[in-house]
Amino acid sequence: MQGMINRRGFLKTAAAGAAVASLPAGTALASSPRATTTVEFWNPSGDALGGPLIKKLVAQFNNGIGKREGIYIDSRFVSTANNSIKYTTGMTSSNSPDLIMTYGYNTVLQWAANGFLQPMDAYLQQLGLKESDFYPVAWDMIHVNGRIWGLLQEFDADLLFWNTDIHKGPPPRSIDELDHLAAKYTKFDSSGRLVQAGIVPWAQGGFLGGGYGDWGPIWGASFYDEEKGKWTINTPQNRRFLEWYLKYVKMFGGRAKADALISATPKTYGYADIFNYGKTAFSMEGEWFPLELTATTSKKLHWAVSSTLLSAPGVSTRKMSMIAGANLFLLPARAKNVNAAITFAKHMVSVDSLVTWALPIGQFLPLKKAETDPRILKAQPWMKYFNEALDKQAFVTQPLSPQFPVFDQAMGQAVDEVTYMKKTPSQALDGVAQKVATAVSQFKATHPNWSRE
């Protein structure tokens, strides 16, 4: 009959009404109900320590500055496993994130040179930062080839730790002293298996594969001329730490014995924790080590650290470590909401946020005001030694070159070649130099605007 609603008509009207009613709710799922700008923020903080901290800092922003400025941070977790590849894929797509955070520095200059990132120079004023706010080594890491490529949240460097159950005295002051003590603490069982080592230098020399990141600077190595922006790989000085490694290969009766010791130990972050599990007397570890030890293992390791800088024979400089680890905030070249992303980045690198991050983890902070905050020293007394070493300029940057990933992989192989007695140090470094030279020539052919090798 006319005017009566039939069943089909009713259902159609109900469905249309439901669709209209769900529209704002659907939009709300992607952004805050009151936000005008959503910043997509990719970060790797899924670990036990970093995950809750990032959530806290993002929530602080969203509930505070973000609400006032109409910015909502959409935080997306990207696992650290191969996140450099995921980040690259994301940044090169049309749906690039607006801001990314890395747990590493290795690929930053490669991204910068290849146009994946946009420089942040224009936003320094908005960020409220200037060069004098930073430690020189931290500034050098972000200010490369005349532009600023990211904002450091923290950086990592190593000092010599020792297991006080094994070594009860003061720390060694020189490589000779370290060698003497290492020989004393190296033990084998009745079937000749290595069960304790003084130190396994190629496995306990920092994040960079083969330990060249720490033992290289200690032995006076310099792989890259930062002033000229050129590689200087196969030099007599650079070979010395490799020659020293051979001493330990002989001490253990072959590299395989040390590998066996390492293989029996659980791994954290992909690195064998032979020091954490009490297998070695000494180790080069970072400022993050004490709190990470508590968070990731239940082992009761009694340790100590000092700011003593190891001296090596014939080396006048006293350097302890290449800065190989760092957290950075980077601006992808295809980011859409740049100003909003910078506003959020400003919050993340504020003194309060940096201290909030560092307190549960233990990190070097790039801003002097943050690093010397009394809360840090109260909570992390060992940072006193790291700060002393930083003041002594004991830490150097890793080679600030877009070819660093090629160099790093090649150096890892070079260390293997030497410690497996397949090549001499000179032959091994020659191989590294050739690989890097090939990468440099390929790079220069297509990147004429990047002046550094």
Partner: protein
């Protein structure tokens, strides 16, 4: 006016009308999703990668044409390319025949009429459905030098701990060993082939006095030779492109090529070049070299099959 039209035009008109009346347009419509997918997701990338192999290309900036430079560097200056290719060819040459032999023996056993045969088949096939990453992670634990189950087992026979994943002499055997765990699909295909062999041939051979070895040698193998060829070609292709297992075994926090790059396989190096060094043109050149190698090997297999494979 059809009557005054030239003969050829009239023929064309009727042919067009025949086409229009035929099912061809409808068929085309139904397969168009596949055609579009093939053109966009397969043909375009294939043609694109040929072009990129002659360029320097990092995705963000336009490709720069550099001619044969990528190929010249690959063959003349890149030691990792040579090492990856050598490792991959060795891996293929050893693992493929080994896996075929193991799969054939398993299939022969599973073809027997024994109680619980279905359970055994499931057990043999199960490892191949475990995700590769999970499998790789499991094998890292099994192959630990000290405390790993493989070395514990070998220890019962007095064999001293082998550094499977850290000794450059043992990394390739480790890869080959892990690869044998996924022979399940090959076993299933062999089993299907075995069950297709007419029983009358076995009976006739037994009447002539053939023992088990002769039955396998002169009846089973010739009759399943097409299946062997299929498994061989697929096995070679898969081995030349192996990626996930070696990457998981060695890439966790370390060099994915293993110590001294002794386990660096071609696909892993291609991945490193493309996605860690952002040299997509160079990686495309590597991909095309691999294609040529696979093509040539497949061609050789097909030519050999004319003499060695028995078709009924």
């Amino acid at each position: 006016m059809i009557g005054t039209m030239p003969r050829s035009a009239a023929s064309r008109g009727s042919a067009w009308q025949r086409l229009r009346r035929s099912e061809f347009p409808v068929a085309l419509l139904f397969i168009s999703p596949w055609i579009v997918g093939f053109l966009w997701f397969q043909l375009y990338p294939i043609v694109g990668s040929i072009y990129y192999s002659f360029t320097s290309y990092n995705i963000m900036q336009p490709p720069v044409f550099i001619g044969l430079s990528n190929f010249q560097i690959l063959f003349g200056q890149d030691p990792l390319f040579r090492q990856a290719l050598t490792n991959t060819l060795i891996f293929t040459a050893v693992s493929v025949p080994l896996n075929l032999t193991i799969a054939f023996i398993f299939a022969l056993l599973l073809n027997q009429n024994i109680p619980g045969r279905a359970i055994f088949r499931t057990c043999f096939y199960f490892p191949s459905i475990v995700p590769s990453v999970a499998m790789g992670t499991l094998w890292i634990m099994l192959l630990r030098t000290r405390g790993g189950l493989v070395n514990v087992f070998l220890g019962f026979f007095g064999i001293h701990e082998i550094a499977w994943l850290s000794d450059p002499n043992w990394t390739m055997p480790a890869l080959i060993l892990v690869g044998t765990w996924t022979v399940g699909p090959t076993v299933v295909i062999f089993l299907a082939g075995l069950q297709d062999v007419p029983r009358v041939l076995y009976e006739a051979a037994q009447i002539d006095g053939a023992g088990p070895f002769h039955l396998v040698r002169h009846v089973t193998l010739p009759m399943i030779s097409p299946v062997i060829l299929f498994n061989l070609v697929i096995g070679v292709i898969n081995a030349l492109q192996a990626f996930t297992l070696p990457y998981v075994l060695f890439g966790n926090g370390g060099n994915p090529g293993g110590p001294l790059n002794s386990a660096l396989l071609y696909s892993v190096q291609l991945f490193q070049v493309g996605f860690k060094q952002f040299q997509m043109g160079y990686a495309a050149a590597m991909a095309w070299i691999l294609f040529v190698i696979i093509f040539v090997l497949s061609l050789i297999s097909m030519r050999l099959s004319l003499r060695l494979v028995h078709y009924e």
